[in-house]
Structures are given as C-alpha cells and as structure tokens.
C-alpha cells in the first residue's frame, strides 16, 4: 500500500477511541485488531487462553491473548511478543511483582535485561544510550508490560496505583546486555539460561556513577559503594542493589582479576554507612521488625552494611552501554531479586 492510500484520518480516530476508553499510558496506542493479534499469538506459539499472571487481591488474570493485545497497543512487532512473554514471566518470578508492587507508593519500575542473539536480530539497543529512548524493541517491550498492568490488572494512577511520585521512565527500562563488550559470560547464562533470555526485577530507582579517571579497581568499586550505601531509599535494615556496568568499568574490573561474583561480593561487603552517618538521617536503628527509625544510642562508629551478609548472589551485575566513558548505573531494587532468568521461546516460524 502506498503512503497516499493509507487513511490517516481513520487512524487518528482509532487512536482517539483508545484514549477515550482509558487504555492509554498517556501516549498514542496502536489499535489492536484480530488479524494483528493473531500474528502475535502465532509468533509466541502459545495458547491464547493460557493464564500467565494473577493478581489475587483483585482476582484478575492475564492471558496470553490479553498480553498480545496490550503488546500490539504498545507498538511491538509480532516477533517481539516472545520477549514480552519472557519479561512478564521473569517479573512474575519476583515476589514483589506478584503482590502489591504495582500499587505501591514507591511506584517501582521493572528492569528488563535481554540476552542472546535475539538482541541483534530484533534491534534491541545494548550500547550507547541504553537507558534512554530511541529503539523500538526496548521501548515497546517495556511499555507492553506497563499496559498489561494498567489494562488487565486495572492498576491506574490515582486509583489502585498509589505512587507518591513514581519513577521517571517507569515503563521504559528494557536494556540489552552488551555481551560483545562484556568481559564476562552473559548475565542469564551465569544464572543457567544460555541463549535468548530475559532477566528482570523491580527498581526503586537507578542513579549513575561517573568515574572515568581511575584505573584502580578498588577506587572504582569504592565509588559504587558510596552511591549504594547512601541512606535515601533505605527504609529497612538492609536493601538490595545491583550495578549495570559500562564496558569500560567492567573491563577494568575484569582486567584486575574480578569475576562478576567478585564484584558483587566486594560491593556487598563495603557498601553502607556508619551508625553515626545514619543517625544524621534518622535511620540508624531498626526496630527488630526491620524498619529503620531514629536510634537509641548505638556506637556511632559501627558500620552498617546496606546489603545483608549472605545476599551476595542477589547483587545483579550486568554490562550495558557504550565504551566511550566510565559511566555506570546503580540499580536500586524495590524489594529483592529472585536471581532467575527466563528463556525466550518463539513459536513456529509464522
């Protein structure tokens, strides 16, 4: 069909119809039709009525077909749909995403990390600007997750969703791992899933660490530990945090002999604040139930770790971004990370 034959007026009416139904996250949606949704279902090769998620407090269920309709609306291509399903499954492995996470005052954001050849086949960005916009696969897979929560679970802002402020880019954080420039095996492969796979958790926020003039691995790790240890989002005794390293930082560390788990262990051991520092934020004492409060005179010099001992294996270390500077991202979990990756399984060639 030539451009002249496309009916833009009809398209605009259809887009406005979707807004009027309350289905939109604020941006225009692609109206979902039966033939297009069927192409998505064929790409996934899974039964349309298969239930892939349930919100017990609302007794609402997500089926493969409802996920497909929302993936269409998000602007996905049919071949992205297996990635959406894997991302959804990965999130459903997370304790917080199964319960009230989507309704939380924290307004958490899913972090979706894609591994495998599918990144290049479908055009996922894993290099420069990886946390930013500009790539259809990254943008629409993440958006599809947000639309499923909004439309199928019915969690709308100001209604069942109660985010105090929420996160910038809440439904947009989907990154490819930069396997080509990572010194380590792919993240998902390290968790036992080789090839095309998704790893995910929920974030409270992410914040960058700019350190481009250090060649000492411990100074670099110390910079991450300083950011990880800050009190701002710490409300319980401990918190879980990961790092998405830029290739420059990852290679500096690997060159100094650090494996992925060495980096995690170092950060777990060294990230935190003294009781005195935490006292200045009114967070030096925890009440036994795990919630932090202004304290009761504990020694000021005691070091309180951010990441609980024994949780080193829950510190997510991924590699993404361009190799043009030493800028990495600390990813601060909403709750925890299951440590599980999910294989991406496409249907029969459609």
């Amino acid at each position: 069909m030539s451009v002249a034959e496309l009916d833009a007026d009809a398209a605009q009416l259809a887009v406005e119809h979707c807004y009027e139904q309350g289905w939109s996250d604020g941006l225009p949606l692609v109206p979902a039709t039966r033939p297009l949704v069927d192409r998505f279902l064929a790409a996934a090769g899974r039964p349309a009525d298969e239930v892939i998620g349930h919100m017990p407090q609302l007794d609402r269920s997500v089926t493969v077909e409802l996920a497909a309709i929302n993936a269409v609306m998000a602007g996905c291509l049919p071949e992205y749909f297996p990635v959406v399903l894997a991302a959804w499954e990965a999130l459903m492995n997370e304790r917080a995403a199964k319960g009230g996470g989507w309704q939380s005052t924290s307004g958490p954001a899913p972090l979706i990390i894609v591994n495998g050849p599918i990144r290049n086949e479908l055009g996922f960005n894993s290099t420069g600007g990886v946390f930013g916009p500009g790539f259809r696969a990254n943008a629409t897979v993440a958006r599809a997750i947000g639309l499923i929560v909004r439309n199928v679970f019915g969690v709308h802002p100001h209604e069942l969703e109660q985010a105090t402020q929420g996160l910038p880019g809440r439904w947009s954080i989907c990154i490819g791992e930069n396997e080509e420039e990572s010194p380590w095996p792919p993240l998902a492969a390290d968790r036992g899933v080789t090839g095309n796979a998704v790893t995910a958790t929920l974030l409270r926020t992410c914040e960058y660490v700019d350190n481009r003039h250090t060649t000492d691995p411990e100074l670099l790790l110390g910079d991450f530990a300083d950011t990880i240890g800050r009190s701002g989002s710490l409300i319980f005794k401990h918190a879980l945090v990961g790092v998405v390293l830029c290739p420059e930082h990852a290679n500096l560390l690997a060159g100094a002999g650090y494996s992925r788990s060495d980096v995690a262990a170092w950060l777990a051991e060294h990230s935190g604040r003294t009781t005195g520092q935490l006292a200045r934020a009114g967070k030096d004492h925890n009440d036994g139930a795990g919630v932090r409060f202004p304290g009761s005179g504990e020694p000021a010099d005691d070091f309180q770790r951010t990441i609980a001992p024994g949780n080193e294996d829950r510190v997510l270390i991924a590699v993404a971004g361009s190799r043009n500077a030493g800028i990495s991202m600390v990813v601060r979990y909403f709750a925890d990370w299951s440590g599980n990756s999910v294989a991406i399984r496409a249907g029969e060639a459609s």
């Binding site: 979707c18 039966r34 407090q57 609402r60 319960g99 009230g100 309704q103 199928v152 019915g154």
Partner: protein, 182 residues
C-alpha cells in the same frame, strides 16, 4: 467491513460478581462481646489496634480482645480460612491501619469479606488513600462500602500520639460496630 478494535482489559463483560447487599447485622451495643483485631503490618497499626481493643474493654463493656492477627501479606486480602477463624473467635472486628497503596486497598477488601461472613467490621485508613479504597470497594462489588478515615500520616506518630488517635476515633469505631453509638 473494517476490523473491530479489541478490548485490552478482558473485563468488557464484567458483571458485578457478588455484590455486598447489606452489612452484617449490628448488635445494640458491645456489652459482653468479643472483639478481634486484624493488623495489616504497617507501622503503628498494631499499637493503634491494641489501644482501641483495651479502650473497648475498659470503657465500653467489651468482654475481651479474643483474637489478634498480623497479616502475612499486607497487599492481599485475608482468605476464607482467616475470616472463618475470626467468625468463630470474635463478634466484631477492627482492621487497620491502611497507610500505603496496596495495604489500604486490601484492608477495605478485608472489611467487605468480614461483612459478607456476618461479622461487623470497622476499617481504618488514612485520608491519603480514599481513592484506592473506593476503587477496591468497587472491585469487590460494594461501591458504597464505608470505612473510617483518619488523618495521614500514621506511621510517623509517637506512641502517645497513636494512643490519642485511638481515643479520638473510638466513637466512630463504636458507631460502626454497634447500633447504639457511644
């Protein structure tokens, strides 16, 4: 014939599942009755509920606080087995304190579940969560369900302030649980 636009919600044909036709029958007053407390885990909730329970016993003729439970998951409404346990062990129940997004919605659903089981319930939420409470009541098929609203926040109050808050809300709690208000 153009293709129809598909509904992404899956709820186009939602019927009001099992609507709450009426609240549980109210006793004339609370004299000699047993009160249950359901703590939703939020900070200060248990202190608030215990204070309400002891005031009901000391000042309003309630026989005893017969059951106190802390929810395993604040986001999820209590299940039938917990509702049944309360129905066996107490005559009225006080639920609170909703002061977060998912827990407030779940507390409203808890109140509705207890009412359906014939147990008068008083639910306390802070005023920051009116919209999520109302939305959950609609989801539960009880759009007109009422709860008790207290000023936000609750979590940062001192123990003395929590006690004062409990004393202040006591008349409303009594009025919700029994016919004859205090």
């Amino acid at each position: 014939m153009p293709n129809a636009i598909l509904d992404p919600t899956g709820r186009a044909a939602d019927a009001a599942a099992s609507s709450l036709s009426a609240l549980a029958p109210r006793p004339a007053d609370l004299t000699g009755l047993r009160v249950g407390l359901l703590d939703n885990t939020k900070h200060n909730a248990l202190l608030f509920l215990r204070e309400v329970g002891s005031l009901l016993v000391s000042e309003h003729g309630v026989a005893e606080v017969s059951i106190v439970e802390t929810k395993a998951n604040f986001s999820v409404p209590v299940d039938e087995s917990i509702v049944a346990r309360y129905a066996r062990e107490c005559d009225v129940v006080v639920i609170g304190v909703g002061d977060c997004g998912s827990c407030s919605a779940a507390a409203v659903a808890d109140g509705i579940n207890f009412e359906r089981a014939g147990l008068p319930a008083a639910v306390v939420l802070t005023d920051a969560f009116l919209s999520t409470g109302r939305m959950m009541a609609e989801v539960q098929g009880a759009p007109d369900y009422e709860w008790i609203t207290t000023r936000h926040p609750m979590a940062s109050l001192t123990p003395d302030e929590v006690r004062t808050r409990a004393e202040g809300l006591l008349p409303q709690i009594l009025g919700t649980l029994a016919k004859a208000a205090a």
